[in-house]
Symmetry: C2
Subunit: 411 residues, 2 copies
């Protein structure tokens, strides 16, 4: 039932599993970091030891994701929700500097809505005002039942504006289990070829739940990529930003022209000018995430994780598919749009879902309950979830199917 330290298998959607070896290293760092005689939570963020660690963390992300010199890597707090606001405020400031005469009506924000999180992001843009928020495409229109987020819509439906202040999408929808395909040939890949070509495209991507699980397609074509750390790389409390230089703008100059003022902690310029140290950062979360990405590099980097994550997702979806054919499971997401990181499905029949979840928990597999807004089962397959752990779940699913079949035969 349990592994070392009485640990269970954690399929939770976030905060989520971290590598045990990292946790053990962090145990030491908590009382004495890098031989300083102080714990990592007790050391000054302006000490040379922490600065060296931060530099290494930045480098390990830059190298593994192949981030070009045109883009800064910044660290902040506040999670994805903080960035819902920050991307809007910073990109509205940028647009104001580019097009000082544009009215709020002419300042268009393009949102691609493929799930709960991109929907919330668009709502926040509307709350903040000062622009016209456009839904480029709403995936619910293309769903099986007309109301679920269960697909990446057809490319023909992505009608981007000619000169938007930003174009926003969420690469992986954690709640709904919908993700853009990374194979550029797939109909569910993000339609980069349809983006306006007339300028440095202000393309924003929320990569919170798929950050560093595999390479990022067309990374250099993005204006901002952001991710809360608490899925693949660390504890909650750290947000990683990859920001193209032209999006780090003088927000105060823009405010003088009429753009909304940007609170200091949300300003990309404040972060960039201070090397992410304008005020005290979340040192402990940075430390743990730094250990995770260092370990990733030692394990072979993203090619290794991409390969393992592909296998994990493929075999899990195969097991769900088998259950679907036997009338026990039902996939919630349309073929081709399924997330590698969050696999969602239903267990059919009265009380069957509870039975499935309780049985899994008895075998030490936790965190499988779907998000409260959509129900069902959700299996999160982040980097720290091993292939062996997925195999254990699949074996359980097979036993569950066999049991269901024998119950049905007896009935």
């Amino acid at each position: 039932m349990s592994t070392d330290h009485g640990r269970v298998i954690n399929f939770g959607a976030g905060p989520s599993a971290l590598p045990l070896s990292v946790l053990e290293e962090a145990q030491t760092g908590l009382v004495n970091f890098a031989g300083t005689g102080m714990g990592i939570a007790e050391i000054s963020h302006r000490s040379k030891e922490f600065q060296a660690f931060l530099d290494g963390f930045e480098r390990d992300i830059r190298t593994q994701l192949d981030v070009p010199p045109t883009h800064r890597i910044l660290f902040t707090q506040g999670g994805g929700t903080g960035q819902f606001s920050a991307v809007v405020l910073n990109l509205l400031a940028r647009y104001k500097l580019l097009r000082p005469q544009a009215s709020a009506e002419d300042t268009v924000l393009d949102y691609v809505v493929t799930g709960s999180w991109s929907k919330k992001a668009a709502e926040e843009a509307r709350r903040l005002g000062g622009s016209t928020v456009r839904t480029v495409v709403d995936a619910r229109v293309y769903s099986k039942d007309g109301k679920a987020f269960d697909n990446i819509p057809p490319h023909a439906e992505f009608a981007f504006s000619a000169d938007p202040a930003l174009i926003y999408y969420c690469e992986n929808e954690t709640v709904d289990g919908v993700e853009f395909a990374h194979d550029a040939q797939s109909p569910a890949a993000f339609p980069f070829h349809l983006l306006p070509q007339n300028t440095l495209v202000p393309l924003i991507a929320d990569y919170s739940s798929s950050f560093m699980c595999r390479p990022i397609p067309r990374l250099a074509d993005h204006a901002v990529i952001y991710a809360g750390a608490q899925k693949n790389i660390g504890p909650a409390g750290l947000t990683v930003l990859i920001v193209r230089e032209d999006c780090i703008v003088d927000v105060d100059a823009a405010a003088k022209l009429g753009a909304a003022p940007v609170p200091l902690i949300l300003s990309y310029k404040t972060l960039a000018d201070s090397g992410s140290l304008y005020n005290t950062p979340s040192v402990l979360a940075i430390y743990m995430a730094g250990l995770v990405v260092k370990r990733m590099k030692e394990n072979g980097g993203l090619p290794y994780y991409e390969e393992v994550n592909r296998r994990k997702a493929n075999k899990l979806y195969a097991a769900v598919h088998e259950g679907e054919q036997k009338g026990v499971f039902r996939r919630k997401v349309q073929q081709g749009s399924e997330s590698w990181m969050n696999a969602v499905f239903e267990v059919l029949g009265e009380g069957a879902e509870k039975k499935f979840l309780d049985g899994a928990e008895k075998e030490g597999m936790k965190g499988l309950k779907g998000h409260r807004s959509v129900g069902g089962v959700r299996v999160s397959l982040y980097n720290a979830v091993t292939e062996q752990e997925v195999d254990k779940l699949i074996a359980y699913m097979a036993r569950f199917l066999a049991e269901s079949a024998s119950v049905e035969a007896a009935a």
Copy 2:
């Protein structure tokens, strides 16, 4: 030179020392929290185990600080700098709902400027616009040299506005070592008696570096008290808020009347309505701070810490005073306005300060260098710094004085 785990004595200003017993407990929690089989950084913030911990944390603060039911305790991210903006935006929204017709000119924000942090807070209010930012009093005017923050100004100089949207002060100025006295009779106490009496006073206090080092005078008369955790109670990445109910306002309704929109993560209403769980909080920082305040309660609560902190501060200032009489040290802050938490002084003579700091470091006492903006020596005396550790520093200071005297005698 070192204690258990090779640890040194940490007099740093923040992030700063934490109790070793808490760090050791956190080592266990990192791999298995509350018997869940998951580490604290890996567990869902919506799990019943985390909710129970969060409730206990809130209770331990409420009980020890005697927070009345009129005030909510909220947890967020972004530190004091985040609150520089948040208090302004939320209180401007409140004022707009109370006085919808007031122009920006008539919307007055009163700032008491006694040091680097309150100065920065006032600057952020000016950046955000939509109001008239007034400096009620600037302590530099009353300084020995006309430019240093070295005092709490005379009460006669605190001329508050009649109907301000907020009144802001910083209880303890970490950089400058200036603090309001807690003895209500002291001329350096905050002049609560001069506040406007016509309404629920919108009094804001930054308690970042003195939070939970002793009781908060007139807590119930405050509209908002906030504190970054990384001084007395925990790691960086957690901000604690105590907010009176009338300051938790419908910021969207205020925006419709013309107030500035408030980004979701800065809205007190969003935090309050969700029990501080609108989005994923900094679980790990909350956990460690929760352990600290629980341990404080077990040790006797604030009366115990107040007494110990008083003794620590008194004996340290006595040692500085002795050095001053011998012409070796010089106090930077005027008598009566000295901080209990951050004692700042100079070591006189060429190269003497470096010698003092190097000598201390050799004996395992670190973090004594003053803030880069003001120089000198700064001794931070937060809760986790023991009286025994202060005694060790004082013994070192006495030896340093003796040595200086013999050098002088020889010269």
